[in-house]
Every structure is written in C-alpha cells, then in structure tokens.
Symmetry: C2
Subunit: 304 residues, 2 copies
Amino acid sequence: MFSQVIECVPNFSNGRDPEVLQKIMAPFYAEKEVKVLDYSQDEDHNRAVVTVIGTAAGLERSMVRAAGLAAELIDLRKHEGAHPRMGATDVVPFIPIRNATVEDCDALARRVGQSIAEKYGIPVYLYEESATRPERQNLANIRKGQFEGFAEKIKDPAWAPDFGQAEVHPSAGVTAVGAREPLIAYNINLGTDNLDIATAIAKKIRFIGGGFRYCKAMGVDLADRGIVQVSINMTNYKKTHLYQVFSAVKTEAARYGVPVIGSEVIGLLPMEALVDTAMYYLQLEGFETSQVIEARLLEDDDEK
Amino acid sequence: MFSQVIECVPNFSNGRDPEVLQKIMAPFYAEKEVKVLDYSQDEDHNRAVVTVIGTAAGLERSMVRAAGLAAELIDLRKHEGAHPRMGATDVVPFIPIRNATVEDCDALARRVGQSIAEKYGIPVYLYEESATRPERQNLANIRKGQFEGFAEKIKDPAWAPDFGQAEVHPSAGVTAVGAREPLIAYNINLGTDNLDIATAIAKKIRFIGGGFRYCKAMGVDLADRGIVQVSINMTNYKKTHLYQVFSAVKTEAARYGVPVIGSEVIGLLPMEALVDTAMYYLQLEGFETSQVIEARLLEDDDEK
C-alpha cells in the first residue's frame, strides 16, 4: 500500500457515455501512486462518480489531467440531468484516510484548484474544510443557480472564484474543490410503516433541526420491506459518533412506541468508527487502534 | 504484506540470557517471509515469548531451525524458573490471521512437529486444535510432570508422542506444537474492592463453571486502583463473543449491586472482533468486513 492514503471522489457531468468516462479516468489508471477503487455512471442524474485513492503527489498529477480531459470531452451547454451541476468536473473532494490529515488534503485541494484554473481557464471554488468564506462550506450554496445561472452569479463580488478569472468557462463551467472528513452513510430502520415518524425523528437528530453538529438526515420509505428508515449522512464520525446517533434515534422512536429494528452502513467506513463504537459499548479503557492486528499489518507495510 | 499471514508464538525456556534468545531468533530475522512482531524474556519465569508472523512456508523453515538452535543452546537439566516447562522449545502455537484457516495452521503444525522430531530427536505432542486425543487439547495436561517427570510419563502408552520416539531428548526435553484460534486477553473492571465478587463472577462465566464454551476467567485484585477485575481469556472470539461476556459480567455483577466500570483489551485483537461488537450493539444488518477501508487497503496489497 502507499505510504500515504488520501481518497478522492471526483464527480463528472457525464452519466451516459462509458467511453467518455474511461477517457477521463485514463490519468488515474496511468498513475502509479493512484488506485481506482470504484466508478459508476447514473443515466438519470447524467453524472459519474469515481473513487480513487493514492498519495497527494499522485492524486495531484492525475486529478488535474482528468479535469483537463473532462473539459475537452464534456460540454455543459448540451448537458441535462436530474442532479444539480455547475461544471464538467463538478466537485472534487479530498479525504484523509491513512497518514494524512485534513490539512494535507486542504493543501492538496488548493494546489489542484489553482492548477485547474491556470491550465484550463476554469474558475474554482474551495468548499467544505477548504472554504475561504463560511457560506462556501456547503456545496449546495456554491452550486445554487447551476451552470446556467453562473454567468451572472460569478460577477457578484461575493461569489468571486477562489482561483481563476470571474468568467465561466464556456463549456466546462466552474468546479468546486475541497478537503473533507470521511463520510459514513448510515441508515436506521424503524419497526413501522409510518413515514411521518421517520421524518420527525430525522428532523430532531440533524444539525439544522437542533440535533448533532455532523449529522444530516431524512425519512425514507422502504415500501418493499413495509418499514421506514432514518437515512443519515455522518459528515464527521470523529466528532459526531455512530453510537450517539443510534442512541438518539432510539430515544426519539420511544416517544412513538416504535422499535429500532436494525441499522446499516452503506459503502465504506473507517476502522476508527468501529474502534470508537466498541470503546463506547464495552466501556473500553485505554484502547489504541494499533492494538488491532490489521492496523499492525498496515503499519508494517508503511515501513517498507 | 505477505499474501498469507499466520502468527506463531513460540515459547523458549530461557528468560535470562538475551544473547541466547537472539541466536535462537536468528532464523526468523533471516527469513524473508517472516516478520518479528515482538519478543520478551521473563527472569522469574525463566522463559522467552516470541511473536512472529509470516507465510506457512516461511514459518515452517524458520521455526524448525529456531527449535534446533534452542536444543543446542538450552539445557533443561540446568533450568529452573517459576513457569512450568517441559522443553527447550516448550510450546509452538500457530494462529490464522489473514487468508489462512485453522486447518492450514494444523497442517503447518504437523509438518513442523514432524521435522523437529526427525531432525533433532525431540518428541513432539500435538495440542489444541491439532490434538490427536481429547486429553491432549489442553496444554496443561500434556505438560503435567514437566521436564523432570517426562522420562517416566513418556513410557506410558497413553502419553506416546505424536512424532518421534518415546524417549525424552536428554537436554531439550519434549515440545508441544499445535494450531489454535487467536486469543483475546480481555479484562472487565468492577466498582468494588471485594475480590470474592470478582472470583464468583469469573466462576459463573467461564466454561468449567458452566459458563461460555470459549471463556477462561479468574478474579484479580487491582490493589493500586482499589478495585477488582474479572480477568478473561477469550479462546475463540468467533464463537464466544466479547459482547456476550461483557453482558454476562454485568448481569452477574448486578446481583451484588456492583457496577461494571470499564474493560480493557491487553495486546492485540483481530478487527473481526470489533466488527462483531459493532454489529451487535448497533444492530447492523448485512455488514461485511470488506466495508472497512483498512480491510480494503489490505486486500489491495494481496493483489500485488
């Protein structure tokens, strides 16, 4: 494994042409210090999501090239899809995984953002942990108005780009780049088919409703199972913990006499979230992640 | 990392001469497919414990050589110490960690046992998962009588060795070799200084007292903290789970009005034990170890 592991999940505005996506991804495959973990295209959203891991240097080289290829191969003037978007390369998050900090990812995001602006004339906005203004932390705020609205929005001094001229790239739009913590997609299932209850609980536990700082949530109907679900995005599991959210959902569900019948993690989660969960429930004292055999095996790799 | 990881924790009967231990360990350092994780010598016990990991092939080559060196460098006729022992190489457990099964470790134990007997004339007993008779599963049964008593014990047909002649090696004694599951050393702290309560709880939860199949336990006085502890060896965490033991100790402690104030893991534990714990307490549905990022990073290594 690489001595340093940063995850990058670029979103490109093409969900319908696999050949275009493969051309855009070529720099990732060609880069020795990067490995492609996953990619998918969604026709309705007309959007591709790519997951790669690698060193800061490897990601910098390959991500800048991929953004250049996306600018060549995607024309937003002809793009339509269900998912909001503002650029050919729409958003580029960098996430610390191993031997890397959010600060490392922030520095990487700035270097990549500057290169994309300078090389291809695409205005770049820094978002999340890299945001230069509070209102730019939330990607939805930056993307508001989308590609079509940006010609005007970018003239507003409040929305001057962090890198590049205040002029939208005619076909490739604008791009958001930033560092963020790993996100855990975590859902909690309720023993009821009443969507109102899931929605009410979601509103109570999420940040905007007065709940946890790093928790986004909504109620979802799982009609085929005849139950409802509180669907959660844990945006910083190191500060808002899985056990806190699980316990809070149980507490809220109790007022409706509804049981929590299970939970699920969608996609990947860092081992630290498991360590954290075990430490809480088993009341573990002084436990270190380095006591996990698999963590030790990865450390041995680092020495090589 | 190696494509396959087996752990081996040989115990040698020398706790007082670091040079002797280094000479015995030389084959581990020299072997490319083996890595030394830890070693320690205890003067009172007059015993050394070495922890190495590696492939079956690498461990077979180096462990057989190390046993030969131990037979050259340790004379049990001159050995005294607090810990029971019967051989220069006293016991050699093989433990599956990654891409290896107990069956793989059992096959390895038999090859190593046979080589030690044939090359050095040391009788070998197979124990734990490799035992050929039920009474040989427990190492304590095999070791009963120790080095001094074995000249007579080995003549008893019931104690004929699994490999080699029924004749103790004059200076190196006899050796036990076997496969076993990873062991987790897990302690649960009670909010009382009454050792009788810790002892009573230990007796209730452990196998010999009617408790869990893969649980050994005893009460321990932590005088400096003014509390007592149920000190536990989890001999198969895949079948007797951490949460079961933790919960059972809470249940027993409740009858004395005593709180569980914490727990601790001593040394290493496999990530699967954490996955297992999180799955129980968070009621996780359909979670796979491969969803843990660190597991994915190790898998990528396997591909190389």
